[in-house]
C-alpha cells in the first residue's frame, strides 16, 4: 500500500526532527540527521516513482482520526500527487546528501537540524493532503518550518527583516487560501476534497476561488507582484535549504494552484487561462530582469526562480485556455510542458544553489564582484555549475530546453483558440517567453562568467578550495539528471501521461517507442526534437574537428601573458564585473522597469580621491503595491494608537457601544 508507506516516511521524518533536538550537540550530528533524511527521502522517492509508473487516477486514500474531530485527516495519492512527490523527494534527497558535507560548516546546527526534517515532512504532507483543513495545516507547518530555517542565521544583517517579510507574506497567502477553501466548501462545510469535487462551485464563486488561489499559492511560488519576499528569504537560509525553498517549495505552491484550479474547480473558463498565462509572462520577464541586475549570487538565483515560475504558469495558463475550449490534446501538451518544467527547474535550481553554497563555503562570499577565477581552484564545482547554467538557459541538449520547446509548441497550436482576447494575448506571451529565454542566457553568462571565470578579485577568491566530496557528488548527480532528462525526454513525457489524463482528459502521444527516441508533440510532420541524436551529432562534429586539427594542424601551445591589445600587466580590477556586464541591459531595460539612475562623481584633476559611481534601482512594483499598503497600515495604526490611552470611562463607553452595535446587527439579521 503506497500511501501507507509514504505516511510512514513522513512519520519517520517527523521522528528524526524530534530526535535531532538532543542529537544536535554531537559532533557527528549533521551526518546522522542528514543520513537519516537521505534514506527516508530516497525511500519515499522510490515509492512515488512506482506510484507514477503504475498510473491510474487513484492509487490510495486514507483517513486518519486526527485533526478536526468531525472531519479527520484525509490523505490521498493520485498521479498528480505522485509526480509532485517525486519532485519533492528528489530535491529532499539531493539536499540531504549535500547537507552531509555542507552541514559540517554550520555554526549553529541546533537551529537547522531539527527544522530540516520537519520542513521535508511538511512539503510531503501538503502534497498528500486530501481535505482543506489538512492542506492548510500542513501548508502552514511547511511555511513555519522554512521560516525557522530562514531565521537560523538571524543575527546576520538583513536576515531578520527577510524573515519578517516572509512571515507576513506567508500569513497573507494562507489567509487567501483559507478564504478560497471556505468558498469551495460552501455553506455546507464539505471540507474533504472529495466533497468539493462532487459539488463544483458556481461560476462567480469559481472566479473568486481562482483569484484567491493565485494570490495564496502564487505568493508562495513568487508570482509577480507577490514575489518580493522570495529573493530576500531564500538566500538567507543555509544553501541546501535555499535549494529546497527555491527548487522544491515553490513547486509545492505550483501543486497547490494545479490542485485547486485543475482538479477542484471543475471545468475551467477561458479567461482563467488568459489571466494565468499573462501573469506567467510578466513574471518571467520581470524575474529575469531583476536577476540580471543582481550581484549577489544567491539572490540572483532566487530572482531566477521567479522567472521559471513564470514559464511554468505560462504553460498552466495555456493548458487552462485549451481545456476550456475542449481542445484536450493541446491542453495535455501545455500541461506536460509546465509539469516537465516543474521537474527540470527543481533539478537545476537545486544544482545551482548547491554550487553557490560551495562557493560560499570555500570563500565566505556571495557578492559576485569579489569573486572570479574559481574555475581554477574549484574545477568540479565549476563544471557542475556550468551544466546547471546551460540547462537553466534553455540550451540544447539539456533538459531546460525541452520543456521550453514544448511550451513554444503549445503556443504554436494556439491560433485555433476561438476567443479574440486570447488571439491577441498568446503571441504577446510568446514574445515575453522568447525574451525571457534570451535574457536568461545573458544572466547566466554573467553568473558563471563573473564568478568562476576571469581572475580572482579578492584574496578569499584567490585562496578558495574545492569543497567536500559529498557536495561534489550531489552536484554531479543532479548535472547527470539534467543531461539525461535533456537527451531522453520521451520517457519523462510518457511518465506524465497519467497526470495529464486525469487533469486534462487527454495525454500526449506515446513517445517512448518512437524511432531514435524522438519526441513528437503533435504529429511528425509538424515538429519533432531529438536531444539524443543532436547530442551525438554535436559530439561527433566537435570530435571530428578536434581530430582533424590535431592530426594535420599545429598542436603547439604556448602560455603567455594575456594580449589585451597590448595593454600590459592589468590588475584584476580592470576586468569586467557583474555590474559592468549588465550595464548595457540596464540601460536598455532598466531605465523604464527599474527607473535606473547612474551617478558618476569624478574628482577634479589633482584631487587624489577615488572616482565613484552609484547606480540606483527602484523596484517599481514595490513602489506601486507595497509602499501604499504599508503607508495605509501605518496611518491606521497611528489613528488607533489613541485608543490605547483612554480613561476608564471612555473604555466602558466603548464596550457598551460595541455591545449595542452587535445587538443591533443581530436584530437586523434575524
Amino acid at each position: 500500500m503506497a500511501l501507507t508507506g509514504l505516511l510512514w516516511c513522513v512519520g519517520a521524518l517527523l521522528a528524526v526532527s524530534v530526535a535531532a533536538i538532543p542529537v544536535a550537540r554531537l559532533r557527528s550530528a549533521s551526518t546522522l540527521v542528514y543520513g537519516a533524511t537521505l534514506s527516508v527521502s530516497a525511500l519515499a522517492l522510490a515509492i512515488a516513482i512506482a506510484c507514477l509508473l503504475a498510473g491510474g487516477p487513484l492509487l490510495g486514500a486514507l483517513t486518519l482520526p486526527v485533526g478536526l474531530p468531525w472531519l479527520g485527516a484525509h490523505f490521498r495519492v493520485d498521479a498528480l500527487a505522485a509526480f509532485f512527490l517525486i519532485v519533492v523527494n528528489l530535491g529532499a534527497a539531493g539536499a540531504s546528501l549535500y547537507g552531509i558535507g555542507y552541514g559540517r560548516h554550520e555554526e549553529a546546527p541546533g537551529r537547522v537540524l531539527p527544522f530540516f526534517p520537519a520542513f521535508l515532512a511538511g512539503m510531503n504532507l501538503v502534497v498528500l493532503a486530501d481535505d482543506a483543513f489538512t492542506f492548510l495545516f500542513t501548508w502552514e507547518f511547511m511555511s513555519l518550518a522554512s521560516w525557522a530555517l530562514v531565521m537560523s542565521h538571524h543575527r546576520r544583517p538583513g536576515n531578520a527583516a527577510a524573515g519578517y517579510l516572509y512571515l507576513i507574506m506567508a500569513s497573507f497567502g494562507t489567509l487567501a487560501l483559507l478564504l478560497a477553501f471556505g468558498l469551495l466548501a460552501g455553506p455546507a462545510g464539505g471540507y474533504a476534497f472529495e466533497a468539493i469535487r462532487a459539488a463544483p462551485p458556481a461560476a462567480g464563486v469559481a472566479a473568486a476561488v481562482l483569484v484567491l488561489a493565485l494570490i495564496g499559492a502564487g505568493s508562495k511560488a513568487g508570482l509577480v507582484p507577490l514575489h518580493v519576499w522570495l529573493p530576500l528569504a531564500h538566500p538567507a537560509a543555509p544553501s541546501h535549504v535555499s535549494a529546497l525553498m527555491s527548487g522544491v517549495m515553490t513547486k509545492v505552491a505550483v501543486y497547490g494552484v494545479v490542485r485547486i484550479v485543475f482538479d477542484l474547480l471543475g471545468v475551467p473558463t477561458w479567461w482563467a487561462g488568459a489571466l494565468v498565462a499573462l501573469l506567467g509572462g510578466v513574471t518571467a520577464v520581470m524575474g529575469v530582469l531583476h536577476a540580471l541586475m543582481e550581484h549577489d549570487l544567491k539572490r540572483l538565483l532566487a530572482y531566477h526562480t521567479v522567472e521559471n515560475i513564470g514559464i511554468i504558469f505560462i504553460g498552466l495558463g495555456l493548458a487552462l485556455a485549451f481545456a476550456a475550449n475542449g481542445m484536450r490534446p493541446a491542453a495535455a501538451l501545455a500541461l506536460t510542458a509546465a509539469l516537465f518544467h516543474v521537474f527540470n527547474h527543481s533539478v537545476f535550481k537545486s544544482l545551482l544553489f548547491f554550487g553557490s553554497g560551495a562557493v560560499l563555503t570555500s570563500t565566505g562570499l556571495r557578492d559576485m564582484e569579489q569573486l572570479g577565477g574559481l574555475i581554477h581552484r574549484m574545477p568540479l564545482t565549476a563544471f557542475a555549475f556550468l551544466v546547471g547554467s546551460a540547462a537553466i538557459s534553455a540550451l540544447p541538449p539539456f533538459n531546460g530546453f525541452v520543456s521550453e520547446w514544448l511550451t513554444f509548441q503549445a503556443i504554436l497550436v494556439s491560433p485555433a483558440l476561438p476567443q479574440w482576447l486570447l488571439k491577441f494575448l498568446v503571441p504577446a506571451i510568446g514574445a515575453l517567453l522568447a525574451l525571457s529565454a534570451a535574457l536568461a542566457a545573458a544572466c547566466f553568462v554573467k553568473a558563471f562568467g563573473v564568478t568562476f571565470l576571469g581572475r580572482p578579485r579578492s584574496d578569499a577568491a584567490r585562496s578558495a578550495r574545492e569543497v567536500d566530496r559529498w557536495s561534489v557528488a550531489t552536484m554531479f548527480v543532479l548535472a547527470a539528471v539534467c543531461l539525461v532528462a535533456g537527451i531522453l525526454p520521451g520517457y519523462f513525457i510518457d511518465a506524465l501521461a497519467p497526470v495529464t489524463r486525469s487533469l486534462a482528459g487527454a495525454r500526449m502521444p506515446p513517445q517512448g517507442a518512437l524511432d531514435w527516441l524522438t519526441i513528437v508533440p503533435v504529429a511528425q510532420s509538424r515538429s519533432s526534437y531529438n536531444g539524443l541524436l543532436l547530442f551525438l551529432i554535436i559530439a561527433f562534429a566537435a570530435g571530428l574537428g578536434a581530430e582533424a586539427i590535431h592530426r594535420w594542424a599545429s598542436g603547439a601551445l604556448r602560455r603567455s601573458a594575456a594580449w589585451d591589445c597590448g595593454f600590459p600587466d592589468a590588475s584584476p580590477a580592470t576586468q569586467y564585473t557583474a555590474g559592468s556586464f549588465s550595464q548595457p541591459i540596464r540601460r536598455v531595460f532598466g531605465s523604464v522597469v527599474f527607473r535606473a539612475r547612474e551617478e558618476v562623481h569624478i574628482p577634479p584633476p589633482g584631487d587624489l580621491r577615488a572616482a565613484e559611481m552609484h547606480v540606483r534601482l527602484r523596484d517599481v512594483l514595490w513602489d506601486a503595491f507595497y509602499v501604499p499598503i504599508t503607508r495605509v497600515v501605518g496611518y491606521v495604526a497611528d489613528r488607533f494608537n489613541k485608543v490605547q490611552f483612554l480613561s476608564i470611562r471612555a473604555y466602558l463607553t466603548l464596550v457598551f457601544g460595541a455591545l449595542v452595535a452587535l445587538l443591533m446587527v443581530l436584530a437586523v439579521w434575524q
Binding site: 513554444f408 509548441q409 576571469g454 541524436l533 586539427i549 576586468q575 541591459i585 536598455v588
Partner: protein, 318 residues
Amino acid sequence: MAIALNLLVQFAQMVLVLALAPLFAGFVRKTKAHLLRRQGPPLIQPYREVLRLLRKDVVLADSASWVFRVAPYLVFATTWVAAALVPTFATGLVFSYAADVIALVALLGSARFMLALAGLDVGTSFGGIGSSREMLIASLAEPAMLMVVFTLSLLAGSTQLSSIAEFMQASDVGLRFSLALALIGLIMVAIAENARIPIDNPATHLELTMVHEAMILEYSGRHLALIEVAAFLKLLLYVSVIACVFFPWGIAVSGQGPVAYLAGAGVYLLKLAAGGLLLAVFETAIAKMRVFRVPDFLGAALMLGFLATLLLFVTMAR
C-alpha cells in the same frame, strides 16, 4: 533506400556548407572592395587565412581555463550542425527531424553562450566588453528571430525547416503582409547576429563599439581558425535560411534524384551570389551606428516579428 539517400544528402550538405562558407565570406569582401574601387583580396583569401592560422602556435593567456580551450570546438561544432540543418540545395534533411528551427535558434544560442563565456575567461576588459554587448544584442535578436520563426511555422503548420521550405515552394502562399514583415525582421536579425555593418564592423577590432571581435581578441592559432570558420558558417546559415524560406525556387524536393539535386546546387550558388552582392552593397551604403542605438534597431526587428505573428494569429481561421 530513401533513408540512405537522405543521409547522403545530409552528408553532402555538411560538406558543402563547410566548403562554401569561407568562399562566401571572400565573395562579400571582394565585392565590397570593388564597390570602393579597390582591388580587394582574392576570393580564396579566407581559406588561406584559416590554413595559415591552423599552422600557427596557440598562444594561451596565463589565466585561461579549459573553458577557453574547449569553447572553439563546441562553437564550431554547434554552428556547423546548425548550418547543416538548413536546406540549401535539397529538402528532406535527416537532421531536420532531430532539431527543428526553434532548436536551430537554440543551437546558435549555445554557441553564443560558450563564446561569451570564453570572452570572460581570460579576465581582460576587452573580452568582457565584447561578451556583454554580444549578450545585449542576442537578448533582443533571439526573440526577434523566434517571432519570425513563429510566423513561418504558423503558416507552414510545421517547425521543421525542410517542411517549411517545401510548403513555401509547393503551395500557393501568395504575397502575404506577414511574410514581408517577417522577411525584413529576419534580415535585420541576420545583420545583427553576424556582426555586420550597421551593428558591428567585421573588418576591425580596434573600434569603440566593437562586439564580436573584442570578444575573441585573446584567441590565436587553431582556436581562432575554428572561430573564424564558425563565423563564416553562421553568415552562410542566415543567408541560406532567408534563401530557402523566402526564395525557395529551385530547391530539390526530397527524393527527386541526382539531376534535381545538381540543379538545386546550381540555383543555390546563384542565390548565394545574389545574397552576397546585396549584403556588400548594403554594407557599403550605410554607416555604422552607436552601440546604444542597436537596441532600437533590434527592437524594431522584434516588433516586426511580433506584428507578423499577431497578424497570423488574428487571421488564421483554423
